[in-house]
């Protein structure tokens, strides 16, 4: 499929995003699919800044800024009011990984369990970038951040947020990245089509300063993340029907991905750690392929 980028723009130029910021590009591409009958809820995250200080506003949809841990529930509250007004407006919760994996997980779980009719987008730059690169539970194992310095890099694997969302049996969840805009666009459309319940998009979004990555390499880094299976592209319907939407080519190695970014120096410098990381990636990929190939994946699984 060849992606014809819709011409309509809902993001003005002059945002406060850093050079090469994929969080900004993620918003731009997602809104091209959703359109202007939408409202975004932004908790504390880079996007609190990117949109601009008052009276500047960079989006052509309303944005309601809210506290760090409340994106999902505030979006649900807005949706409730709009439904009462007879409006079909799409309400988007737009949060970073900290606001999703960590502090916002409770409200996200609550909204998912209640199957709130919202689209929740986590733009994941794999650390607290807005506060200056501190680890979150989305930070991959072995990564440098300012709170996991080179001598003590992140000791634990990245939290499996997609598994958590799948466990809530929400109608639609998918991973995506702007390095594959056609795949991203199709998934936003799929999320729009699954309206009536909770939709979750996990969008890997490169952060050049936080990843110690040249700004012009952001797209390349995200492309390699997909190709080396660090960040597989897949979708999950009803929490059990897994579909891999892009099959990586085997020509991109883990090292190709890691060596592009200074934050992975601890892994590059430690062969044992690198093997541990590689094993984790292989195991998760194998599990994912198994889910994809399950013959019974469309069969109703028992609800506990």
């Amino acid at each position: 499929m060849r992606y014809g980028v819709p011409e309509a723009e809902f993001l003005d130029c002059g945002t406060l995003g850093c050079q090469g910021c994929a969080a900004t590009l993620s918003m731009r591409l997602v809104l091209k699919e959703i359109g202007d009958d939408a409202i975004a809820v932004v908790p504390a995250c880079c996007w609190s800044i990117i949109d601009g200080p008052w009276p500047v506003h960079s989006l052509k949809i309303p944005v309601f800024h809210t506290a760090f841990e409340t994106a999902a529930v505030v979006a649900a509250g807005i949706k409730a009011a709009k439904v009462r007004q007879g409006r079909d407006t799409t309400v988007i919760a737009w949060a970073g990984d900290g606001g999703t994996f960590d502090i916002g997980l409770q409200a996200l779980s609550g909204a998912a369990e209640r199957n709130e009719d919202i689209i929740y987008v986590c733009y994941d730059n794999e650390a607290y970038m807005n506060t200056g690169i501190q680890r979150s539970s989305a930070t991959p194992e072995g990564t440098w951040t300012t709170t996991t310095p080179d001598e003590h890099p992140e000791p634990r694997p990245k939290k499996d947020i997609m598994g958590i969302m799948a466990a809530h049996r929400i109608p639609y969840a998918a991973t995506a990245t702007t390095a594959y805009p056609d795949d991203l666009a199709r998934k936003v459309q799929a999320a729009m089509a699954a309206k009536g319940g909770m939709r979750f998009l996990h969008v890997l979004s490169a952060c050049p300063p936080g990843w110690k990555l040249p700004a012009d390499q952001a797209i390349e880094a995200m492309r390699r993340a997909v190709e080396c299976k660090v960040f597989p592209l897949f979708e999950i319907r009803d929490g059990r029907e897994y579909t891999i939407t892009h099959w990586p080519d085997d020509e991109v190695s883990l090292e190709d991905y890691l060596s592009l970014q200074g934050r992975f120096a601890p892994i590059m410098n430690d062969p044992d750690l690198r093997e541990t990381v590689r094993r984790g990636i292989d195991e998760r990929w194998a599990w994912l392929v198994e889910q994809h190939e399950r013959e019974d994946r469309v069969v109703e699984a028992p609800v506990g």
Binding site: P53, V63, T66, T70, V73, G77, I78, A81, A107, G110
Partner: protein, 399 residues
Amino acid sequence: MPERLLLTGNHAAAYGAMLSRAEVISAYPITPQTMIVELLSELTASGKLNATFMTVESEHSAMAACIGAAAAGSRTYTATSGQGLALMHEMLHWAVGARLPIVLTNVSRAMAPGWSIWSDQTDILSQRDIGWITLFAESVQEAQDFIIWAYRVAEQVHLPAMVGMDAFILSHTAEPLIVHDQAAVDAYLPRFEPLYDLDPADPRAYGGLVNRDHYFELRYKIFEAMDRARHLVVEAGEEFGEVLGRRYTPVEQYLLDDAEYVIVSAGALTSNVRQAVKDLRERGVKVGLLRLVMFRPFPIAEMRSLLSGRRKVAVLDRNMSPGHSGVFAEEIRATLAGIPDAPPIYGYVVGLGGRDVRVETVVEVFEDLVARDEPETALYVGVKGLPIGPLRVPEGVIR
């Protein structure tokens, strides 16, 4: 036609939200508030109340859901208590800064640990400096009516409002309640007309980054709105009388005109103070009651005019600010400081964690007030083994 029912304070609060036609209700259960949201979900499920009921996973989310719905144009209501109100704290600030006229009922409950579900107003007074209009109900009727009164003012000044109600003493006590005629309430409280409702046709950003050039002015507008609320509460209380037959005021006076001694209290505790004052008057003592109905905005002018020139004032605080005194006493002292004929303020800390404050307890406080020379920072009433008095180092362990 108005209906006369026998209901608890909690159920009266649910009726208050229903009569106010709350559109989005979001709440989380907590003793002793739970009956409010139980009844509201029944009323919603049966269609008696046309509202959306959101059963969220925490009080923090309950307030956040109200914030979202209010920002998008709905009239919103929630109810909580103690720990729940404390958990909401961050979002209580958000409701003020976002200028959303949410109304909540807080059934005041003591803070843990140790776990206590009993009456204590420290929970609500810990939210003092946020910018919520704050009212204290004394009766089942007020538990209902103050919600309607609160919406009326809150929506005019774009600030949220909370109605305090004491655990069990009011929340679980049944009294006759006049449920107002819906058409009359509708006449008093028109539909919520928000200034903004997150309309995609008018795409604005709400609550974003403000730098040092603007933040202060945004806060100044909140101070200004709170000051307008001071007058609007009086006006709306008068009108409540005209339209719904019960007039409400920011303070209530009882046998105050010629009183040399005044006892100040707030909430359900006041009923016993009223009785004690009546009993003492029969003994020929010139004592009166000043009830604090509204805590924010603080009724500064009323306090000054009604308390100056009195011989002594006893303030009953079913709350405590450790390291200082009871909060009401602290506020009243600050309000009276420097005015001519300011009376000495004796702050009595009573009934923490739901310990009974009986009519006799109030009489004991009064007798202490008359006998005592120096108004101490705080005087503790009813601590086991200790007579009324300031902090002392006990000889043994207090059991």
